[in-house]
Symmetry: C2
Subunit: 225 residues, 2 copies
């Protein structure tokens, strides 16, 4: 029972769609491939799942290796297993979506490959099926902003309503009315907790600083119109 001949062997990898906001654009972390196939082409960061780790743990490990950060939002996005997605062998990739606040310049991976933040709309043609995976990740992020507090994942721990609104505007690519947005988000129970502090870092009148609250879903949701 279950001899090797009973099933075809697969390699399993995790690939990461790591999104952040940099210079007023939604950006994804890309690394340049140092080997064939697709040598020299930009790709999503990722790597093989190890024998003794779960998929979630593999994603968290790769994320830490690439960005140096943990404690950011990380969720499974989906799996991609077309038989010809990697010409060398049969590979199933489990994609993960990570959302991070603005980070310093990307750290080089363990293989010292080049890395950069690329605006998601001008990422160009990526290696393998990574363009499709990136598009799926961006769409997931856009829709999750509607009914979860995940917009706060792009913000520093303490943030203003205007900064959160900027997140929504940049991720959705739409302009929002600052006054209605303020009334809306401060009215959703459990979304924001005032810290009591204020800041003038955005100019103008001092703004209340907030932390993310305990709500896991938004009632009512913020809808893209």
């Amino acid at each position: 029972m279950y001899r090797p001949s009973d099933f075809p062997p697969f390699a399993v990898t995790v690939d990461l769609v790591v999104l952040t906001l940099r210079s007023d654009e939604l950006c994804a972390l890309l690394v340049r491939r140092g080997e064939a196939p697709h040598k020299g082409r930009w790709a999503l960061p990722g790597g093989f799942v190890r024998e003794d780790e779960s998929l979630d743990a593999a994603a968290a490990r790769e994320l830490a290796e690439e960005t140096g950060l943990d404690r950011v939002h990380l969720e499974q996005l989906g799996s991609y297993g077309d038989p010809r997605r990697d010409p060398r062998m049969r590979v199933v990739s489990v994609a993960y979506l990570a959302l991070a606040p603005d980070l310093p310049v990307p750290v080089a991976g363990t293989d010292a490959s080049e890395a950069r933040w690329s605006p998601v709309d001008t990422a160009g043609k990526l290696a393998f099926d990574h363009g499709r995976i990136l598009a799926d990740g961006v769409e997931r992020a856009r829709s999750k902003l509607e009914y979860t507090p995940l917009g706060t994942a792009f913000c520093a721990p303490d943030f203003t309503v205007a900064e959160l609104r900027r997140v929504y505007e940049l991720v959705w690519g739409t302009a929002l009315d600052a006054r209605n947005f303020h009334r809306k988000v401060t009215g959703v129970p459990g979304l924001l907790e005032p810290t009591g502090e204020t800041t003038t870092r955005d100019g103008g009148r001092p703004a209340q600083l907030y932390r993310r609250g305990p709500a896991a879903t938004l009632h009512p949701p913020l809808v893209r119109s």
Copy 2:
């Protein structure tokens, strides 16, 4: 490069959460395991992904083998890859969610194992991590009813508003106001297309029959309160 020693070998399977409505309950298709481990225990139907087929194709093939049906809604649910989820070896399972109208008795699988429709709330303890996968599938179905036309996947090709309402009531486990539901779903553009026929199969005044319309998402959504 990429010698077998470079990565650990995995087995990749697809497991199916097939949901339908039978005798006023939301039911899932289960098969009884004929082999260790978990011999005799109920499990989700599934099997190994073949060397030359995509994940989607493997799921569709397994679904056809177990139910005899294609042309039902089928979508990827997520992947489960805990190192110890199968005691024999490292297996990553890609779970799929299928929604089907009421079917005849389940056909036996190719291995002639026993099969049945079980109400999702009283499925008991399943093999491996299938209880978790089933719960995730049910929750996915419940939330997808809110903003997609997937409720129609549980109906026959021609259905009445009352039959669609019954779908929502059974999947969500809540009672809905028949009059408001009628006004709501007939007002969502692209959700329903009248066939021009009527039926009295539900008793009372003849009801208009509808087909599913072209809408892919519901604007506005039907919300669980």
